[in-house]
Amino acid sequence: MLHIKCPHCGMRSQNEFSYGGDATVKRPELNKEVTDQEWDNFVYNRVSPRGKHLELWQHLSGCRQWIKVERDTATHEIFRTYKANEEIA
């Protein structure tokens, strides 16, 4: 079980969180024309990297904030966690 540092609450066990996928995906702006390819990239296409990955987690049984977690998908090492609006270093 992972140990994740919620930037709002501190170190918590994984079972308080739910996973939210790739945090680098950016939703196209509203009312903006997008090609099929751009839209598919947003909705479906994901890379599944072995190694460093920036991902979303929600502290569901805690402060309910969505956070960003930089994690190694192979070793589970967590390098840093960010608030939703924080600049990614």
């Binding site: 079980m1 140990h3 066990s13 009312n31 909705v43 929600q58 969505w66 589970h76 967590i78 939703a84």
Partner: protein, 998 residues
């Protein structure tokens, strides 16, 4: 029965307390402090079971967790538990245990014929034999294998025992209370660190209980006792015995199983049977010690052959002689320790040492005691079937390839020592990259991945002096990092005997013309010949050899077999052991009760149960409940002998003719507040929200980004910046997360807050032509006329002094309202509705009638919004705004979603107007078409239409738009039904929606 193998004095058992127990129906006596194994051995019982595959007689091989054979079925306080190691089970008054793997009895076992058929049961036998004919598998092979194999039977009864889970955080978790565990725990505790010291056995001290050493002028055991009592007094230390740390998981989380009551005849009141600890440790010190390695020889599985360390433990801890004519077979000095113990108790051992002319302090001691020592000698084979009667022995050449003339020595046990294997399971589980240590012929922990350090014998260090020194220092160093304290610890002086080098020898060659089985893995009956076959057949990877032969599998996880297996593979393959590598060690290290893993989440605790504040009324009125997500909802209210079908029809009919009331408290409710709330809803829902006036409700559909319908519900504008959103019962939690996702990550500029209010409000739906009359009486001061409270209107009212929210919304297609009051007033509201509704023939209705009413009307619900349908499929495309963007809108342009013949909701009526249509059935064009018959759609929901008095279903049908009036067939192979049907509109009742607006 007398305990004829118990010595007069000595051991750590309590001889003042006799304990009676039964094994295979025979009564015996032991003492408090015995294990089932030591008590049986004290009574001279060596035969405990039959082996897994060949059903060979098996005895005891170890004295603890390393035991591969002595697995029994335990009976305790009316319960039974399989897969119990007799060497770990402490004796209690009234204990009963039986052998497994034998029928009809352990002494006469029919399966033992496998032993004579062994030529037909080589490695991969199951894979090769039970493959064909395919049809034989279920009927013949599987039942046969199931009966023949297995390590006992699981109880089919409900487990009455209670199990607990506990979460703990600590600075240092120390696994094992041997010398390294005690020393590191002591220095860390002195530095103020929060320490957990775990010991799997009942007694602390590990090897100190059996070794002949001196620490700080005390015996090893006395020193251990002193440290333990000091640690127990310290508030920052948790000391736990009978607690096995069995799994090392990510981020330094370890799981430990504590046997709280297993050693007692009956679990104490309010105590659990076992407690599972989830421990998050800053640092982990693994002091799990080492397990003695067997030397492989012929018939080395005969009862009476056991590890020399086990024989010593039975003698020193339990005062039990495993034999009176012992033969010790060793390749190192450890065997001599056992021999000396025998000699001290008046038994004459013979030592066979594979080394030529070994020299050391302890060998000198043995010689001085007059022990018969034979150098360059090996055991070729054990003789005897159910018990060792003698041993064939021979001299062996320097290169270990050639045996001398075979001689026979009479003996009643063979104590074997092939040197020591560090227990690296936990380190390996943590991700440690283990390395091979040539000095000791075994793997030891290498580079750590997590905060873990292995100490003492587990790290391949076999001298006490060095172990204590490094352990004291390590405990001090690691705790200092955490607590910033640095207490001086004086390291006690140690007196121990120096060992000479062990012999790198692990397998006795077969003498010419003999074909003895030489076992590597005792639990799984894997012999040298099996591994040879696997390699001959082309298996190379050690992981493949493991799976093909079952070497190192099952509950034993290769504790005694691992290294000898690797030695064999490396020898045949002409490789060195490190390049063969070892198989992955997986948790759990030792079997763990399923009950302990499940914990308290059983029966009604398996998931939370939510009840509405009106629940008691439902119970008082014969409600039959159904699970709706985590909620319990009334399915119907049973009157007399009514069936579900009859009751739900009555309830639904009463809504259509008079008025009904339904508890809708479980609907998800979310408060959406803030100046940008309207804009937010406008983006979340597919329809327009910016112009919804205060005091009005609107039905909305929300999509996922992929265009699939996520949920639907009504949202009401309570005040300028305050909206009350409702969701389906099942999706409430997901919708809240979904909204939070967009507010926090996608559109943080919107000034909106969302919060769940599901449990703040109790809700009652009042539906039927008489509902307005009832409402007027409930709220005499409020104008509830069609003008005062039109369809989709909202007002606040006063319900006899209780503040209420009144929504004019309908899920039944009838004139209907929903009244919400604060949860605490829920029962009051309900009582008032029932009381005043009496004159309007009000009846409560449950979820079954609710479904009937919505299906008739063609309202979609969870069975249509099933995560596979888009708005068009549900005839909801009218709610898709063309003017604005919303979540998922772009996806609706996908080719499949705009196809001409896209699936769509339809109504289905059986031609005979009688036959009920099973939900989930397929719709097909031709009932007699060859299989697979092309499916055109499926039945999503079925009911008995109370309006038309015939069955009616909803279906999602390909090209549904153009299928109205078509005749198709419903097929349900599951129910063996073929029903001719007609496709009709999904709006089966009041298609123009006049009633809800009346």
């Amino acid at each position: 029965m007398t305990q004829s193998y118990r010595i007069e004095t000595g051991g750590l058992i309590n001889r003042n307390k006799k304990i009676s127990f039964k094994f295979n129906g025979t009564s015996y006596f032991g003492y408090e402090g015995d294990t089932l194994a030591s008590a049986l051995l004290a009574n001279g019982v060596h035969l405990v079971g039959r082996s897994f595959k060949y059903h060979r007689p098996r005895g005891f091989f170890g004295a603890g967790v390393d035991e591969p054979y002595a697995v029994v079925q335990l009976y305790r306080n009316g319960e039974t538990e399989p897969n119990i190691k007799a060497t770990e089970q402490e004796l209690f008054e009234g204990l009963e245990a039986n052998s497994v793997n034998c029928w009809p009895s352990v002494n006469f076992d029919i399966g033992a014929i496998n032993n004579f058929l062994k030529i037909f049961l080589p490695a991969g036998f199951y894979y090769k034999t039970f493959m064909w004919p395919k049809s034989f598998w279920y009927k013949i092979y599987e039942p046969f294998i199931r009966k023949a194999a297995g390590l006992g039977v699981a109880s089919t009864k409900h487990d009455k025992e209670r199990y607990e889970h506990k979460y703990e955080y600590c600075d240092l978790l120390i696994a094992g209370s041997g010398p390294s565990g005690l020393a590191s725990a002591y220095s860390a505790a002195k530095n103020g660190a929060k320490v957990i010291l775990a010991e799997d056995k009942p007694r602390y001290g590990g090897s100190l209980l059996t070794s002949d050493v001196n620490i700080g002028n005390q015996s090893g055991k006395d020193w251990a006792d002193g440290i333990i009592s000091e640690l127990k007094e310290m508030p920052n230390v948790i000391v736990k015995n009978r607690s096995q740390v069995f799994g090392y998981y990510d981020h330094n989380m370890l799981v430990m199983s504590e046997k709280v009551s297993d050693h007692l005849p009956k679990t104490k009141k309010y105590h659990p049977n076992k407690r599972l600890w989830y421990i998050r440790a800053k640092e982990v010190l693994i002091s799990s010690g080492s397990i003695e390695r067997p030397i492989v020889f012929g018939n080395n599985d005969t009862p009476g052959v056991m590890l020399s360390s086990a024989a010593k433990e039975y003698l020193k801890v339990y005062g039990v002689l495993v034999g009176k004519k012992p033969l010790v077979f060793t390749n190192n000095d450890s065997g001599y320790e056992t021999a000396i113990e025998f000699k001290k108790h008046g038994v004459e051992p013979i030592v066979l040492d594979s080394r030529s002319n070994p020299q050391s302090e302890i060998i000198d001691e043995a010689k001085n005691l007059g022990i018969n020592i034979k150098d360059s000698y090996v055991v070729v084979a054990a003789q005897g079937y159910k018990k060792v009667k003698s041993a064939d022995v021979a001299t062996i050449s320097e290169d270990k390839k050639t045996l001398g003339k075979i001689e026979n020595i009479v003996c009643d046990c063979i104590c074997v020592s092939g040197f020591w294997t560090p227990t690296i399971h936990l380190a390996s589980q943590s991700g440690n990259k283990t390395k091979f240590n040539e000095e000791i012929d075994a793997f030891v922990p290498g580079v750590s991945k997590q905060n873990e350090t292995t100490l003492g014998a587990a790290n391949g260090v076999f001298t006490l002096e060095e172990t204590l020194k490094t352990s004291f220092e390590k405990g001090k160093e690691l705790s200092k990092k955490i607590t910033d304290k640095d207490n001086e610890i004086s390291i006690p002086n140690v007196v121990e005997k120096k060992y000479s080098k062990h012999d790198k020898f692990w397998c006795v060659p077969l003498p010419k013309g003999k074909s003895y089985k030489r076992f590597l893995d005792f639990q799984n009956d894997v012999a040298v010949s099996d591994v040879e076959i696997a390699l001959r057949e082309g298996y190379r990877s050690i992981e493949h050899v493991k799976r093909y032969t079952t070497l190192g599998m099952a509950t034993d996880q290769g504790k005694t077999s691992n290294l000898n297996g690797l030695q064999l593979v490396s020898e045949i393959e002409n490789k060195v052991v490190p390049s063969v590598g070892h198989t992955t060690f997986r948790p759990p290290y030792t079997p763990i009760s399923i009950g302990a893993i499940v914990g308290r989440e059983v029966g009604k605790h398996s998931k939370p149960t939510r009840k509405s504040p009106i629940h008691n009324w439902h119970e008082e009125h014969n409600a039959v409940f159904v699970d709706a997500g985590v909620w319990l909802r009334p399915r119907y209210y049973k009157r007399g002998n009514e069936t579900l079908f009859e009751a739900s029809k009555r309830e639904a009919k009463n809504v259509r003719t008079n008025v009904g009331v339904c508890d809708v408290t479980t609907l998800g409710k979310i408060d959406v507040k803030g100046p940008d709330a309207a804009e937010f809803l406008n983006r979340v829902y597919t329809n327009a929200w910016l112009k919804l006036p205060v005091g009005k409700a609107r039905y909305g559909v929300m999509l996922r980004e992929d265009g699939i319908v996520m949920d639907d519900g009504t949202t009401t504008r309570i005040s300028e910046n305050h909206y009350h959103m409702t969701t389906t019962t099942a999706q409430a939690a997901n919708v809240l997360s979904h909204l939070e996702y967009y507010l926090q990550l996608v559109w943080p500029e919107l000034n909106v807050n969302v919060v769940s209010t599901t449990e703040q409000w109790a809700g009652a739906a009042i539906a039927g032509p008489k509902s307005r009359d009832l409402l007027q009486k409930l709220f005499p001061k409020t104008d509830v006329s069609n003008e005062g409270l039109p369809f989709m209107g909202y007002v606040e009212g006063d319900l006899f002094g209780v503040k209420a929210r009144i929504f004019r919304i309908s899920f039944s297609g009838e004139l209907a309202y929903e009244v919400n009051v604060e949860s605490d007033n829920g029962r009051f509201m309900w009582d008032k509705i029932i009381e005043i509704g009496e004159e309007f023939q009000i009846q409560p209705y449950g979820t079954e009638a609710l479904s009937t009413l919505r299906i008739e009307m063609g309202h979609v619900a969870g069975s249509e919004l099933d995560g596979r349908t888009i708005p068009y499929d549900n005839a909801l495309e009218g709610l898709l705004s063309k003017k604005k963007d919303f979540i998922g809108k772009r996806s609706l342009q996908r080719a499949a979603f705009i196809a001409e013949d896209r699936q769509r909701i339809v109504g289905v009526v059986p031609l005979d107007k009688k036959t009920s249509i099973p939900e989930g059935s397929h719709l097909v064009k031709d009932a007699n078409a060859p299989l697979p018959n092309k499916k055109l759609g499926h039945i999503s929901a079925s009911c008995w239409s109370v309006e038309h008095d015939n069955p009616f279903s909803l279906a999602i049908l390909k090209d549904g738009k153009n299928m109205i009036g078509e005749k198709l067939y419903v097929m349900s192979p599951l129910k063996n039904k073929v029903i001719p049907v007609e496709i009709v509109s999904s709006h089966y009742v009041d298609p123009k929606g006049e009633r809800v607006r009346s």
